[in-house]
């Protein structure tokens, strides 16, 4: 007991000691284990592989990156992946805006918290189950085919459009929430002022609402863009033969780890660039 009291006293008198006790374990975990592993991975992108034994040769070379930028397949897949991430982001924004507008401004105030929970709940439903749901919908004779049959059409089946659709579904709540919050916080006075100055609904929307909500769209896009760019499971399940950057990383791991590491740096670099671009819009402070 005396020891405990003395320790408590010592801790109280020395805030630095307290701080180092607090931080030692988490920093060992995050900085040494996690950042350490990450840096080794990125360094290994500059190593090569013995093409006969698939063993990693620890000799510094930029061959992997050279190959990355000169091989047409790699270039094509990288561009396709960025295109998919942008398409998913655009689709999410287009679908999320009217939905968020309704939940934040049109629905009765009494209902609004309930509607937010209704948006949040599927966000937490299992990722894999949500992808599986779209596999069911898009499979032959599934719900998509059944719905389109009266029009003489059939569903898109598995492929690139299916992957874009499914990714949009997966990350949609991440876009709805920030837009909802921004619209909800929009001061009513601003809208009244706009109306007093003679602006009709559409004009107010374009000149007042949209500029004030754009940072939140950018904030949501950080999630939709980066989550889509790194995904490879969805593409495996509903993408047919489509390959995205994650699939290339995955297929290289066994035989050519340095190449996989080099490929893996691509989404990381693109995501960091995207974050920097979004920071200029002020999106990151509203995250």
């Amino acid at each position: 007991m005396a020891l405990l009291t003395r320790t408590a006293g010592a801790l109280h008198r020395r805030p630095r000691l307290r701080l180092s006790l607090l931080l030692t374990a988490p920093l060992l975990w995050l900085a040494v284990l996690y950042l350490g592993s990450l840096s080794v991975l990125f360094v290994s992108a500059f190593w090569t592989t013995n093409s006969f034994t698939s063993e990693v040769v620890k000799v510094w070379s930029t061959d992997n990156f050279h190959e990355l930028f000169t091989t047409p397949v790699y270039r094509e897949v990288i561009l396709r992946s960025v295109g998919v991430a942008l398409a998913v982001t655009a689709l999410c924004a287009v679908i999320a805006f009217p939905l968020a507008f309704y939940t934040a401004r049109v629905a009765r105030p009494r209902w609004r918290p309930l509607l937010v929970v209704a948006i949040l709940t599927p966000l937490w439903a299992s990722y894999l189950v949500k992808v599986y749901a779209w596999r069911l919908i898009l499979s032959e004779g599934g719900l998509a085919d059944w719905m389109l049959r009266p029009f003489g059409l059939s569903g898109p089946g598995f492929g690139l459009p299916a992957a874009v659709l499914t990714l949009t579904y997966l990350w949609l709540p991440y876009m709805i929430l920030p837009i909802h919050t921004a619209l909800e916080q929009l001061p009513a006075g601003l809208l009244d002022a706009s109306a007093d100055l003679g602006a009709r609904g559409w004009r107010t929307f374009r000149s007042v609402v949209l500029p004030m909500v754009l940072p939140s769209v950018a904030a949501g896009s950080v999630f939709t863009f980066s989550l889509s760019l790194g995904d490879y499971i969805t593409v495996q399940i509903v993408g047919g033969k489509t390959q995205l950057i994650g699939n290339l990383v995955y297929s290289n791991i066994e035989l050519n780890l340095p190449m996989a590491a080099a490929l893996g740096t691509v989404p990381v670099v693109v995501i960091v660039l995207y974050l920097l671009a979004m920071r200029r819009t002020g999106a990151l402070s509203s995250l």
């Binding site: 405990l4 408590a8 801790l11 109280h12 307290r18 701080l19 607090l22 931080l23 374990a25 988490p26 975990w29 995050l30 996690y34 950042l35 592993s37 990450l38 080794v40 991975l41 679908i95 009217p98 939905l99 507008f101 309704y102 929970v117 948006i119 949040l120 709940t121 599927p122 966000l123 937490w124 439903a125 299992s126 990722y127 894999l128 189950v129 949500k130 599986y132 749901a133 596999r135 069911l136 919908i137 004779g141 599934g142 085919d145 059944w146 579904y169 949609l172 709540p173 809208l191 609904g201 929307f205 609402v209 999630f223 980066s226 790194g230 490879y232 994650g246 990383v249 893996g264 995250l287």
Partner: protein, 271 residues
């Protein structure tokens, strides 16, 4: 804003469609678990609970569920300790590099799972293999804890920022030492934030597949891995349907609880 009547109607319709898009796939999963056929053709010819009883006795799914629970509990426990420690350091102290800590905490969840996965995989195989420790449940827990820290940290730090340190100081003025003040004052203040963070961490771990793929040893199969492996096997399709339906139904509970607990903290967002 004065919306015209037609604009209001258009927005109502759009929102209705939006909510339909969000919920129809999940409902479809639940209905499809009652489909007697092995194919996913719509509409199902009739409904049956036959596959639910088959799934109940499926040993593979049960074993995978158990592995997932163990991994989730382990990762949550570690994340609770580490996340809380960082939260206290960041919220109650000033030190060099404080801002970069919040950044490092988010990194494991912000970077693509496959990058985190192969980084941990090669680190484990170079460091642990010479020690005679292979990949297994332990490495899965380590991997999951790494990206679960952020949800605990976010919840606790939000709570600590709102409750100033003066409560603890008051307790100490009244004669409590550092430990006493923590047990009687600080801990009750952050308890619900811890619970919310823990629930979210468990849900995050329970659902994870990519990092798991690269950190699980042979024979270690979590529920998401089991679903992924069996999804494309027609033979197993009905059991996968039931497991998926159960996950949809069950996922609502902890989310709802976490929402209630952390209505004022970062519980609304995953990151």
């Amino acid at each position: 804003m004065q919306l015209s009547r037609s604009a209001r109607i258009a927005l109502r319709v759009a929102a209705g469609l939006g909510f339909a898009v969000i919920y129809v796939p999940l409902l479809l999963v639940v209905v499809n678990s009652l489909n007697p056929d092995r194919s996913a053709s719509w509409p199902p010819p009739r409904l049956t609970t036959h596959w639910w009883s088959v799934a109940w006795h499926n040993s593979g799914a049960r074993a995978a569920l158990w592995v997932s629970v163990k991994a989730g509990l382990g990762a949550t426990a570690i994340a609770l300790v580490l996340g809380t420690l960082i939260a206290f350091a960041v919220a109650r102290h000033r030190f060099f590099g404080r801002d970069s800590i919040s950044f490092v905490v988010v990194l494991p969840i912000a970077l693509p799972g496959i990058v985190t996965g192969i980084a941990l995989n090669s680190a484990f195989s170079t460091v642990l293999a010479p020690l005679g420790v292979g990949l297994g449940l332990f490495t899965v827990i380590v991997g999951h804890a790494t990206f679960c820290i952020v949800v605990v940290f976010n919840n606790v730090v939000a709570r600590l920022r709102r409750t100033s340190g003066s409560y603890e100081e008051a307790a100490m003025d009244l004669g409590a030492d550092t430990f006493r003040a923590f047990v009687d004052v600080t801990f009750p203040l952050v308890r619900s934030a811890l619970l919310a963070g823990g629930l979210l961490a468990f849900a995050l771990s329970f659902d994870e597949i990519v990092v798991t793929t690269f950190t699980a040893g042979p024979g270690i199969e979590t529920l998401p891995i089991w679903i992924f492996e069996n999804m494309t096997r027609p033979q197993q399709a009905p059991v996968v349907n039931v497991v998926a339906a159960v996950l949809v139904l069950v996922s609502v509970v902890p989310i709802y609880a976490a929402q209630r607990l952390a209505a004022d903290t970062a519980g609304g967002s995953r990151v």
